[in-house]
């Protein structure tokens, strides 16, 4: 049924903002002569309560079914007036606004010209209003579960928050244990509390939480669907150890023929492990994993007479027959917390990281000073006979950060402080050590940071402003070539150890998640948030949130804060149980669609798919819009040659008459 459009036009004075330049009475009179216009009024402030009341009363009494408000920018008050319509029982999308303030009275001086233009804008709004169609904001149910990708501190925190609120969480971690980078740290700045001490309890909580299903040593393979209804497919990699049987006793690792012969990733390849291993003592889940790339039996099909681990394991947990397992489930929201990689200093060859064993990264030093690290916490370089304790120690900051030459213009935000922390720890551990830091700036912006920096300097650590240009070996010593820019003197500093404060970079495999979730990257290649200020944990895909260093470098407090933000955003959806989807979305006329797929290619949200349908018995494929994914940009509508895709409220047949008015009316 379609009723005759009866349009009410409301011209706002906006005090004198409009009325001063635009002859509001003349516009009113003009509008009253336009086709289908039933009521025209002008009023001082249309957006005020009495103004809105005018509209409501007319809708109710005069039977208006379309409303044109000629006032300020729709970006300002479209929602206000939509609510007015709704309050009067009219579909809110029967509203069209003519912007006669920002686009007219405020930018033109000549009253006649401005009035003429206002008339034109009102006319264009009237012809569009005439063709408006009611739209309905649909609601979809939200699956009361969440997926968290990445089990670093960000993922752990988000998972715990959501689980504590009573919703199911699937936590997917690609390595055998949760914990992320934080588990590799020794102490944390600025408070110097022990990283493991504060992290381990949370890891255990994750493992034991009834609402959390931990899928460690797993990868997300596929996510389809839309906010509230994501279908997830996860590949649980074979550990070759039956986790139900494994008690975590570690006999297998002791017995392994390769015990102590494989570099430990967790220890930054400085320590050694077996082919069957627990990445670190506090790992969660505390279950062993066989490294399929190293294990003799798995790579060669043979390990001595029989695999020693299997022989040793009392509970018979070793199972070489184990296969990858695909787990599928549905969730309503997704949190991406995949963290970061550290900058690979080999990309700055002048620092000799690849050449000299005594050049370390910050993270390597973290392991070195850690009591659970390869040296048991002793700062010792070299092995066996060559082992020695470095005395002259230099830190170089901003390696791989704020550096256009390696493509990282950003500041990594943690290096200043972890340098201070490590410098402090080294000095504490090596009596008489002579520690200096080469820096460009010190950015001690966080709570307690400046105080900590002060403290470290007071402890005798020297800060030398300069950006070292080269490191080379002279005898046993490493020589740092640098200019002290404060003293303006070139230096050649001879040291025993150089620590590179490497910056943070996106995960090397970050693309994987981009492809799965259609995320975007910002210029720094970290995942792009929906808005840098107002939606810092949201993404362009509804229902998908970011937490931690996956979104950009940050320290643990910020990581945790953001994780809590992401969790709370997810919880808003989960706990309301329903989500509204856009109304001004696109739709396809399946009778005329030819299935060429241009719209499918173009849609930035992957909201359109080609589906097979039957046209009078003939199989054809046509495009179909997934209403929950469409954000209403309309790019698809402009791409469709035959106009078979249209965007609601911005249909070709609604825009063409607007063009006609603006073109024809001089």
């Amino acid at each position: 049924m379609n009723n005759k459009p009866k349009i009410g036009v409301y011209v706002c004075h906006c005090g004198i903002n409009i009325a001063k330049t635009v002859d509001v009475e003349a516009v009113t009179e003009f509008a009253s002569r336009l086709p289908n216009v039933k009521v025209v009024r002008n009023y001082a402030y249309m957006c005020s309560d009495p103004g809105q009341l005018l509209i409501r009363e007319d809708i109710e009494k005069e039977g208006l079914n379309r409303v044109v408000v000629a006032s300020c920018s729709p970006r300002m008050h479209e929602n206000t007036f939509r609510k007015t319509l709704a309050a009067a029982g009219l579909n809110p999308y029967y509203l069209e606004m003519a912007n006669i303030r920002e686009q007219c009275s405020w930018v033109h001086e000549d009253r006649d010209e401005a009035t003429a233009k206002a008339k034109k804008l009102v006319y264009a709004a009237v012809v569009k209003a005439r063709l408006l169609e009611p739209l309905y904001e649909k609601e979809v149910d939200v699956e009361p579960a969440s997926l968290v990708i990445g089990g670093g501190i960000a993922g752990i925190q988000a998972a715990l928050d959501i689980a504590n609120a009573g919703f199911k969480v699937y936590l997917v971690e690609k390595t055998p244990s949760v914990g992320g980078r934080m588990s590799q740290l020794d102490k944390t700045f600025p408070t110097l509390d022990c990283s493991a001490c504060i992290l381990t309890p949370k890891m255990v909580d994750v493992a034991n939480h009834p609402n959390i299903e931990l899928l460690a040593y797993s990868r997300v393979e596929e996510i389809s669907g839309y906010v509230g209804n994501f279908a997830v497919k996860v590949r649980k990699r074979a550990r070759y150890v039956d986790v139900d049987k494994c008690t975590g006793c570690g006999i297998c690792a002791q017995e392994c023929r390769l015990a102590g012969r494989i570099p430990s990733e967790f220890d930054m390849n400085m320590g050694k492990r077996a082919a069957v291993y627990l990445p670190f003592p506090q790992a969660v889940p505390a279950k062993y994993t066989i490294d399929p790339e190293r294990c003799l039996f798995l790579t060669r099909g043979k390990c001595g007479k029989s695999p020693k681990c299997a022989d040793a394991c009392a509970s018979g947990a070793i199972n070489f027959e184990q296969q990858d397992e695909i787990v599928e489930f549905k969730v309503g929201t997704v949190i991406v917390a995949t963290g970061f990689d550290t900058f690979d200093p080999a990309r700055k060859p002048e620092y000799g990281y690849s050449d000299y064993a005594n050049v370390l990264t910050g993270l390597e030093l973290e392991r070195l000073v850690s009591a659970s690290g390869p040296t048991g916490g002793a700062v010792v370089l070299g092995e066996g006979e060559n082992a020695f304790v470095p005395k002259d120690i230099a830190f170089i900051k901003c390696v791989g950060s704020r550096d256009k030459s390696v493509g990282n213009e950003y500041c990594s935000r943690v290096c200043c402080m972890y340098t201070a922390k490590l410098a402090h720890l080294v000095q504490e551990k090596v009596p008489g050590a002579n520690v200096r830091v080469y820096y460009m700036d010190v950015r001690a912006f966080g709570k307690g940071f400046e105080e900590f920096y002060d403290r470290v300097r007071r402890e005798g650590i020297r800060y030398i402003r300069g950006n070292p240009s080269e490191i080379f070996k002279r005898g046993d010593k490493l020589v740092i070539k640098v200019e002290d820019t404060l003293a303006a003197t070139p230096l050649e500093d001879e040291v025993d150890m150089v620590v590179l404060a490497v910056g943070l970079e996106p995960r090397k495999d970050a693309r994987e998640i981009i492809d799965i979730l259609r995320l975007s990257q910002s210029a720094d290649r970290f995942y792009l948030e929906a808005h840098p200020k107002l939606a810092p944990v949201d993404t362009a895909t509804d229902g998908v949130f970011l937490a931690g260093c996956a979104q950009g470098p940050k320290d643990i407090p910020d990581t945790v804060a953001q994780a809590k933000g992401a969790a709370s955003s997810a919880l808003v959806l989960l706990s309301s149980g329903k989500v509204k989807i856009q109304a001004q979305i696109s739709f396809v006329n399946e009778n005329t669609c030819r299935g060429c797929g241009y719209c499918v290619e173009i849609c930035p949200y992957g909201a359109i798919d080609l589906v097979a349908v039957n046209r009078m018995g003939n199989p054809v494929q046509v495009a179909r819009v997934n209403e929950a994914l469409c954000k209403g940009c309309g790019a698809c509508a402009a791409a469709c040659f035959s106009g078979s895709v249209q965007q609601k409220s911005f249909m070709d047949r609604q825009i063409l008459p607007q063009i006609a008015v603006l073109g024809v009316m001089k």
């Binding site: 049924m1 379609n2 009723n3 005759k4 459009p5």
Partner: protein
């Protein structure tokens, strides 16, 4: 019937009353319209079965059956199903609004020839629109005809056109009225099933009877089949065709079925005429 004047030029008429017959996507709205020009009102003469080209300036024209009998008064009625550009715009019209009307076009039901016979109409959906004038005409001249039976069905009760009128037909008790819907609905007192089966149920005798059918092509095909089963002769069966047309008087070319122009030779045809024209029921 050579006329002077411009046959393309329509008369202006005003909608006096308008109401929805059915709801939904392809809803039907009936308009009662009166010519603005007194002279046109006086001179306009249509016969049951004829149609008129109605339109809206700036939108276009559509051929629509005149769904009232001249016996009803000096006005016209159109029942329009919302299909596309023009009919959609027509549906926006309300009392007081203007439309353009030209016509009347086509032949008509040979009501004079039929005098003394029993008339039975078999309609489906919007197909009842061209049948209504013959019903009204026969009602108005009830004494001239031996009987009037009406068989009408639609998908659901909500799709029945002219619903309110059927009760008055029954009350007057000179019309035998059989209604049906395709699928059962609560509270539906009449037949459930397709029109062709209802026809068999009613089982009219072909004796001195004229059967007129109008509706969707598929229905017509089965009704014809069943009428033959009931031993109706080809000459006793009438139908109307609705091919696309633009001018209404045999110039624009498109409405032909075989060598017949629907606008001039039709829209009313006896089955005897149509049965040998292969295109007629395409």
């Amino acid at each position: 019937m050579k006329e002077n004047g411009n046959p393309y030029q329509p008369h202006i008429a005003t909608v006096e009353d308008a109401w929805y017959e059915t709801q939904g996507d392809r809803c039907i709205k009936t308009f009662k319209v009166v010519f603005d020009d007194e002279k046109v009102r006086e001179s306009w003469a249509h016969r049951p079965g004829q149609c008129a080209m109605i339109g809206i300036l700036g939108v276009g024209e559509s051929m629509i059956s005149i769904s009232c009998s001249p016996t009803e008064g000096r006005f016209l009625r159109f029942s329009v199903m919302r299909m596309g550009k023009v009919t959609q715009a027509l549906h926006e019209l309300e009392p007081g609004d203007k439309m353009t009307v030209r016509g009347p076009y086509g032949n008509s039901f040979p009501v004079d020839e039929w005098k003394g016979k029993k008339i039975i109409t078999i309609g489906g959906g919007i197909g009842q629109a061209p049948l209504r004038p013959i019903i009204e005409y026969v009602k108005a001249n009830r004494g001239d005809y031996a009987g009037l039976t009406l068989i009408y069905g639609s998908r659901t009760s909500g799709d029945l056109c002219f619903k309110s009128e059927f009760d008055t037909y029954n009350a007057a008790n000179d019309v035998c009225c059989h209604l049906s819907i395709d699928v059962a609905e609560e509270g539906w007192p009449h037949y459930v099933g397709f029109v062709p089966s209802l026809l068999m149920e009613v089982n009219p005798s072909p004796e001195n009877t004229i059967a007129i059918t109008c509706g969707p092509p598929i229905m017509i095909r089965f009704v014809l089949e069943n009428l033959k089963k009931l031993n109706f002769a080809d000459e006793q069966i009438y139908t109307t065709l609705e091919n696309r047309m633009k001018c209404g008087f045999g110039k624009c070319g498109r409405c032909n079925v075989g060598n017949l122009y629907v606008c001039k030779d039709g829209p009313v045809f006896s089955y005897a005429t149509l049965k040998d024209i292969p295109e007629a029921f395409a």
